[in-house]
Amino acid sequence: MSATSPPGDEPRPSDPGERDSATRERGSPLGPSRRTAKPDWLDWVRARPRIRTLIGAGLPVGFVTVLLLFPYLFLFAHSFFRLTNGRLTHELTLENYRRLFGTALYPNTILFSAGIAARVTIVALLLAYPLAYLLAFKVKRHRNLMYMAVIIPLWVSYLVRAYAWKIILGQEGILNGFLKWAHLIDQPVTFLLYSKWAVIIALIHIYTPFTLMPIYAVLEAIPPALKEASQDLYASRWQTFRHVVLPLSLPGVVAGCTFSFVLSMGDFIAPGLLGGNDSALMVSNLVVSLFGVAFNWPLGAAVSVVMLVLTFTLLWLANKIETAMNYAGTPARRQETAVGAVGAGGLRK
């Protein structure tokens, strides 16, 4: 600190960071008069809490603005630009949206993707709910270990997991090999890979943990006394599940289903790798080819905007339903939405 700095700028011991520097300075053999280690502007900033707050909040806000809001705005703007002779012209038009809704391909692809996503969601739910139930109520020892066993695949690269299904379902794959070894078939079965079903199987595999996490989180949060109270009031185990456990777990079910539906509907890697003629074209693949192959950015942007609107509507709706069904009472719990539930699921013991 220089001798010219105002007296009010002395480091305050209440701030841990400043206490450290103060200790360091006191310990210096040069004494307090020669404290020149820090630049002036730092002291200037520290003395002004408003500017400190602005810097603190400014960084994340700026991050989101530059990396999320601006791209969305560009995307939105592009969807209204015109493509003339393969060149992008900055002239506003509704042509892209007209083409999007006028050509059967685009709505059909969106519907087809939604159909795939719906099937993935249903099967993932049927797999995840019983598993979450077992984990939450029946597994007493090694519960964390078992939970981790479900979650750990999420750390494996998505591509690896998608490719794994190529290895399993391929013509010379593990499944065919097994069937031949068991003399169930003579020739390799070819309908396994490159089909709608391969895509669905891979997506189920990839997104079931996402469905499980929020369901496990809500099930685990149900106080054991509620189940005991139900049984105490003459409800059998099935009635207890039907009238107490199931209704209380519905927010988690909605959150889990939202995850698997939204994520698998927007997926383009699994259909690209495993899809057949009928299914290599989910809506995201369409967007990829519009941007990359056809170089039709405006139309690609228009499809993306429609998908964004659909997704946000879905998330908003899911959030509404979750909030309405969340009876637990405390304000913190009531705000626990899809994302919050997953966080809680991962962190809870």
């Binding site: 106080p223 006394a225 509620l226 005991e228 109270a229 139900s230 049984q231 105490d232 009031l233 003459y234 409800a235 059998s236 009635q239 009238h243 107490v244 209704p247 209380l248 069904m325 009876y327 637990a328 009472g329 405390t330």
Partner: protein
């Protein structure tokens, strides 16, 4: 409080011999969790209509015993009989017993009315009757106007009443209460204690109550089973437990007690003992917990100790440490010349002594009890 709905079970008077009308019999119940024995060979007959309290410190096995009666825990060995028939293997939903939980355990996704009607719905009682009985039960706990509320919109005391109504609406033979008043403030707790006692007498339902609060147990119970290390240390009425503790543990647990260390103890004829405290001899009634040759304490309540007019037999010299005025009484803390502390309630009509004053104290011989560990 309004009169309760008529019950199919008419209230039965407490039978003099509880073998005849005992509603529950616990026979040699043992419950082990791995290496820990929570309940250790507990046998008890519970009379129909009585208010029985399991009192004890945490870990004494009182809640485990209650959970075995409810059916939430299977005893490691032993039998539970209800009116002579074993209910040991039955799950909770097949027992004619309802529970008021410590945490109330109200269903958060149901209205108060649906909470109270839950048991009746599960038993398939006709809708019209459910509606009627739920209303009656809510009236009984003075919550008739809150039926549509969600549990979280109620205060702790109101939730407690809903939990009570939810159990009582089923007209069980036995009601289990697991520290139901623990979360309430003192004033509300006192009110509820009296209300619970009235309900017990009015409805004729057997109440089995668990608490660690000795005052609560004394206030409400017909009988108290004081639990220690999974066993019943003493089973008796509140007055007997207070005035005639069978052991040092009971004397210490119930109310305020002076436990004076003895240097020698000798059994006289009958149930009397002669104890030596600070070089002076005192007579006291011997309890079964003391065996001649083992350490003995003289247990005497502060309200029975009085200043003595003169040094004489049965009096003890003490030095005043402090005199604390607590409103109703003045509590005088003293040290015994020769070691140990003694507290007495100072007579209201006399001026409290100063700290440092020496005086003689005495107590009626029959109030002193010789207890063992």
């Amino acid at each position: 409080m309004r009169p309760p709905p008529p019950t199919p079970h008419t209230p039965q008077p407490l039978a003099p011999s509880h073998t005849i009308s005992s509603i529950l019999q616990l026979q040699h119940l043992i419950k082990r969790f791995d290496a820990f024995t929570a309940v250790d060979d507990l046998s008890l007959d519970i009379a129909a209509g009585e208010f029985l309290t399991f009192l004890g410190a945490s870990g004494s096995g009182k809640t485990t015993t209650l959970r075995m009666i409810a059916g939430f825990e299977r005893p490691t060995s032993g039998e539970i009989l209800m009116e002579g028939t074993s209910i040991t293997p039955l799950p909770p939903f097949k027992r004619d017993i309802n529970t008021v939980f410590q945490s109330y355990a109200l269903f958060p996704h149901m209205s108060v009315r649906d909470n109270v009607g839950y048991g009746l719905r599960m038993r398939g009682v006709p809708k019209a009757e459910i509606g009627k009985r739920v209303e009656e039960a809510l009236q009984m706990v003075q919550l008739g106007h809150l039926g549509e509320r969600a549990p979280r919109q109620l205060s702790g005391g109101q939730q407690q009443r809903v939990a009570l109504a939810r159990a009582l609406v089923n007209r069980p033979r036995v009601l289990l209460l697991d520290e139901p008043l623990g979360a309430l403030d003192l004033k509300l707790r006192k009110e509820m204690q009296l209300e619970l006692k009235q309900l017990n007498k009015l409805l004729g339902i057997t109440f089995i109550y668990v608490t660690h609060d000795q005052e609560e147990a004394l206030t409400m119970s017909d009988r108290i089973a004081l639990m220690r290390n999974g066993r019943i240390e003493q089973l008796s009425g509140p007055r007997e437990m207070y005035e005639e503790p069978v052991s040092r543990y009971v004397a210490d647990f119930i109310g305020e007690t002076n436990l004076l260390q003895t240097t020698a103890a000798r059994r006289l004829g009958g149930s009397a003992a002669r104890l030596t405290i600070a070089g002076r001899e005192f007579e006291a009634s011997a309890t079964p917990s003391w065996v001649e040759g083992k350490p003995a304490w003289l247990a005497v309540r502060p309200e029975h100790v009085r200043p003595a007019s003169a040094d004489g037999p049965g009096s003890l010299p003490v030095t005043v440490v402090d005199a604390v005025f607590t409103g109703v009484i003045t509590r005088v803390h003293t040290t015994i010349d020769g070691g140990g502390h003694l507290v007495l309630h100072w007579p209201a009509e006399r001026l409290a002594p100063e700290a440092g004053a020496t005086l003689m104290v005495t107590w009626p011989t029959e109030r002193g009890r010789c207890v063992g560990d």
